[in-house]
Symmetry: C2
Subunit: 452 residues, 2 copies
């Protein structure tokens, strides 16, 4: 029997596993459900013959480490078992933790992010055993429970259990399948420095007649913000670009081969032009290799549309999210922001850095695991893969890819652009789920057979 | 009997009138209570022997016009019978519409703004009759019911009933008594152009990873705002100062005589320096004669402090309140703002001008009514009056002082800086209320006896 035959024959059983996994509301703040989820994983891994243990870390839900297979080659597989909150709950067409299949689509919180991939990979171990017998490589599953709240303990876990996690390659949480059905692969992630700028300057809100003599904390914040960025997106924080590594010629080749449909993207976003007026390869280069300084939110004073309250607000808040690229360092960027503001006389503007911080990271595309993931994608999917040097979003890949020095790839996964991850009616297609089972077997096989 | 004696003897009765007036919740949106209030006024004026009629205007609560007295001289008295909303209701120590006297202080919504002055003036007519007999001047009370929601119909009312309102001088709603007990008088009001700037640019909020290529409506708003004002408060809208009339030498004399306690004001506000680093007469000049461009509010995207949602917001809103000085015109200022933004490439920023607009206005300090109000203040109060050319706030004085060409003064009233107008536990002091009765008789007498 071929892999595809076995997957088809066992499909109901694997979909049943996904139902079980998605029925558990493994949300931050629900320690009992998070623990139920780890127990479910332990039972599944146990059935698959794995050696299972919990990795503990103060203040974090336990991570699960499951080891199976043998031989000199070792692959680490990263997933997470926690899911996003479900609000706004009213917009769900079926309850988020009562998995529902409709017209070949599996609806549940976690279906796409990331239980779909996780369960498909468990199923792949079962298929592998049935089709090929024992695993000829060591496979280590690392499944954490804190990803959706920023993986705050992940670097600590990776450091503490470095010896147990050592591997020759790492398969990250799946990227997805693009809108045209192309399997996506990426070899890194942007980083993030998320900070709040807080401008205070008055004891209380004042009637705005006083604004003529009393300095305004809101104007002050606007003036400070205006020093941070040019209208064409260039960040003006002194030294912001110091550590940015330009794309190599190999990177540019990947970018040139990457399908990027400008017109469709412009229509989707509802914009006339892109930042800086970029088009073509310049736009794609910007998308993957430029850092940003985005205002995720700003608030001060009276904000009811259409009403005329006249107030001089006592304080103002801006939330900046800065996506970083290798080798920018979030702590260094925060220090540079502080210095930049101080040097321009804005030392009164507070910076809260006690928010999300992630290192950007890249991994080589030509590692054994990278080549196995790409080769398997060519073999399993009908369409050519879309390969990016780095994802435009952020993930906690740094502690593994850089901290432990393990070449890492995020391969195709069940997530499509319209899967509604982090939103109501999250879903994955059942046929995508089964395809990812097949693909996982394929890259395991490719990695095992590679002579590198 | 002296005026003071009569006021003292009838005090309980006049306080009773104030109780009755403040027990009626004459709030915008409560047409029955607004009508009850006009009926109460009609009855009071009727008792005082006035000829009373209602001035109607489409969509506005009826205004009350009450005429009494005789002789060639005519004085118009402006007040309003509507009050501010009571929220936050939980912070009231006694119910806002159950007047409560405690330690000589009268608590109720409207006690200070503006029923305290209005009732004190009614009481003064009663006292005048008792002490001096018939009024030797024509007195016309104009009491409107829409002041707290922007007097939208007041210009229309003033125009429609111009003949009935014609007068040689106008006494406006009282200014107040300052923190040192000095009676305050002003001869004008700043204007207001309140607008919203709205920046839209995306179909929907986007994950902030897209911010590297998709233009940000929030950044665009910040960039537009940054063109409007220098850090030292100078407004950069092209032509903003074109129609500003500089203070005369007489104005500067008034300002130099005006008590302004910088240190106390700095402490109250909690600021280290004033706008532009001004002190002394420069500061006082700025306070009364400079217009502003204040940000009353700004909002976009995700605004929860301490959390890290990464979003590229699809739109942003800023609320600007611009206090104007004579002879700036709100409509002209809005047109100049539009042109300013257009010329700098911000024609995509929408401006909503369908909000509060008021003309600034000044009236001569040496008119007969002005001199009567000042002279009476010298006679009645223990302390020297604090005389300003113009109030720093805004009021609908323009249609009378400019539209009808009637010299106007806003004299001392019951309102103190700590009277909590527009806030919970609004109050006036009972002795201030009685003092304003006495003061009203005094300026009526001074106006009647003046030979000008």
């Amino acid at each position: 029997m071929t892999v595809r035959d076995v997957v088809a024959r066992n499909a109901d059983s694997y979909i049943g596993w996904l139902r079980e996994a998605c029925a558990i509301p493994s949300l931050a703040g629900r320690p009992e459900d998070l623990d139920r989820m780890t127990q479910w994983l332990e039972a599944r891994f146990d059935d698959l013959g794995a050696d299972v243990r919990r990795l503990t870390y103060e203040g974090a839900p336990d991570a699960v480490l499951a080891r199976m297979g043998g031989g000199p080659k070792r692959v680490l597989v990263y997933d997470h078992y926690d899911v996003q909150p479900v609000d706004p709950i009213d917009l769900w067409e079926s309850p988020p933790f009562e998995p529902t299949i409709k017209d070949g689509v599996f609806f549940a919180r976690g279906a796409a992010d990331n239980k779909g991939d996780l369960v498909a990979r468990l199923a792949a171990l079962d298929v592998y055993r049935e089709v090929y017998g024992d695993l000829p490589v060591q496979v280590k599953f690392l499944v954490e429970g804190e990803e959706e709240t920023g993986s705050k303990s992940f670097e600590g876990i990776a450091t503490r259990y470095a010896g147990d996690l050592a591997a020759d390659g790492c398969i990250w949480e799946g990227t997805g399948i693009d809108h045209a059905g192309r399997p996506e692969l990426v070899f890194g992630a942007k980083g993030l420095a998320y900070v709040e700028l807080i401008s205070r300057g008055l004891n209380d809100d004042q009637h705005s007649s006083v604004a003529v003599i009393a300095p305004s904390p809101v104007w002050r914040l606007v003036e400070a913000l205006a020093t941070l960025r040019t209208p064409d997106g260039r960040v003006l924080i002194d030294g912001f670009y110091d550590d940015v590594v330009a794309p190599s010629e190999a990177d540019m080749e990947l970018l040139r081969a990457l399908p990027f449909e400008e017109e469709a993207e412009r229509t989707r976003l509802g914009v006339e032009t892109f930042v800086g007026g970029d088009t073509g390869i310049d736009l794609v280069r910007r998308y993957f290799f430029e850092p940003t300084c985005n205002i995720a939110g700003i608030v001060a004073g009276f904000t009811v549309p259409g009403a005329s309250k006249t107030v001089l607000p006592k304080e103002a808040l801006a939330k900046l999210d800065m996506r970083l690229v290798p080798d920018q360092d979030p702590a260094d960027i925060c220090a540079k922001l502080r210095k930049h503001l101080d040097e321009r006389g804005f030392s009164d503007i507070e910076i809260n850095t006690n928010l999300s911080m992630e290192h950007p990271v890249r991994s080589p595309a030509d590692s054994a695991i990278g080549k196995a993931a790409v080769a398997a994608a060519h073999g399993v999917f009908d369409q050519e893969p879309a390969i990016s040097p780095m994802m435009i979003g952020t993930g906690p890949m740094y502690p593994v890819a850089r901290g432990l020095g393990i070449p890492t790839v995020s391969p195709a996964g069940v997530c499509r652009p319209d899967s509604n991850i982090h939103a109501p009616n999250e879903h994955c297609r059942v046929d995508d789920f089964l395809k990812i089972v097949e693909y996982t077997v394929a890259w395991l096989r490719a990695f095992a057979e590679d002579d590198a």
